[in-house]
């Protein structure tokens, strides 16, 4: 029995897999679980239990917890894809790829505007925005920062987040000029070395480690 066969077999154990209401039930249960217990404590299994379906059905529809979360929160991006893109390539280009991906996502009319809501909501402590913020921090920036194996990876992820959240706030929410109209390529040139240093420098004082 191959892994693919096993996956197909597991999918068949799910209740009413053809019923579109199952997917909606799972999403509703996921929203409730994430909101009630936070991202870390919520599991595929706990969502399945809350939805009254087999965990295999949750896997069948959403694959992983982070994709379930993104779907439940209607988050217009796939965090795993972003992490994979940024980590693919030379370590020396880490900061540049992160900066480039950041402006691509925010300048895209499909993904940018919903993210403005995230920043506004976080400022007024809306629970769903808090959850999204925690998720983006943990599932994107922390995974990128942790790739270098520094023991203070969480602080390094926070520092990247501070630069990026501040940039998003001024450029896309407040629309401060000239930042709001600046060419993304020029901004990548400014931010890339900053992010590179936060992610890879051996210590704060050295430019790049």
């Amino acid at each position: 029995v191959t892994t693919a066969d096993g996956q197909r077999a597991r999918r068949r154990t799910g209740r009413r897999p053809g019923d579109p209401r199952s997917r909606e039930l799972i999403l509703r249960a996921a929203r409730e679980c994430f909101a009630a217990t936070g991202y870390a404590a919520t599991t595929i299994r706990s969502v399945a239990t809350a939805a009254g379906v087999d965990p295999a059905l949750v896997h069948y529809f959403f694959g992983t917890k982070d994709r379930l979360f993104a779907a439940a929160m209607e988050l217009p991006l796939d965090p795993s894809q972003i992490v994979d893109d940024v980590l693919a390539g030379e370590v020396a280009g880490l900061g540049e790829r992160l900066a480039r991906r950041f402006f691509e996502v925010w300048d895209d009319p499909a993904t940018g505007p919903p993210l403005v809501g995230l920043i506004r909501g976080a400022a007024s402590h809306q629970p769903s925005a808090e959850l999204l913020r925690e998720f983006v921090g943990r599932e994107i920036l922390l995974r990128i920062a942790a790739s270098e194996g520094h023991p203070d990876a969480v602080l390094r992820a926070n520092l990247c987040a501070a630069q990026l959240v501040g940039t998003a706030f001024l450029r896309y929410v407040l629309r401060v000029e000239p930042l709001a109209s600046a060419d993304p390529a020029e901004l990548v040139g400014w931010l890339a070395p900053t992010l590179q240093r936060y992610l890879t420098a051996r210590d704060p004082e050295r430019p790049v480690g």
Copy 2:
């Protein structure tokens, strides 16, 4: 006639200088003028006219437009003092002095909490918070960035603002750990080279110019 004599003479031209209501009248007029026409277009003279007092009386109570603004908005800091402190000393220490001053102001229980309101208010586009944000950008960061004479000083000030506003948002508003509990000295070590590069680098690609 010395300058001090001249100042005393001008003060005497002000209407009801001993009347504490004059100060309150001026502050109320200042709030209205700044809100109606923005920081740049408001003058000591226009505030005096709106308050029905002599401009000399406005000078007598508040000295400069930025101090009048700080008093009118109940801003718990003196922007000129901050700019003077940051600009005093070697250019090589510019980023470090700015980072250090930033954490001093935000970690001070007298000045930090009111600034949290500024960030929250700016996110929801409250006019007074917008005005404060514009003022801090123009009267502190732009004056520091302009000291190096780069033609793109406004963008450089925006980049510093992005790093600092994002840091304030995560550390003091959302209280994201470990950033929220990190030693300010450690954070100065991380942020100083970033701010130094934004303020002084000849172009984005060079570490420090």
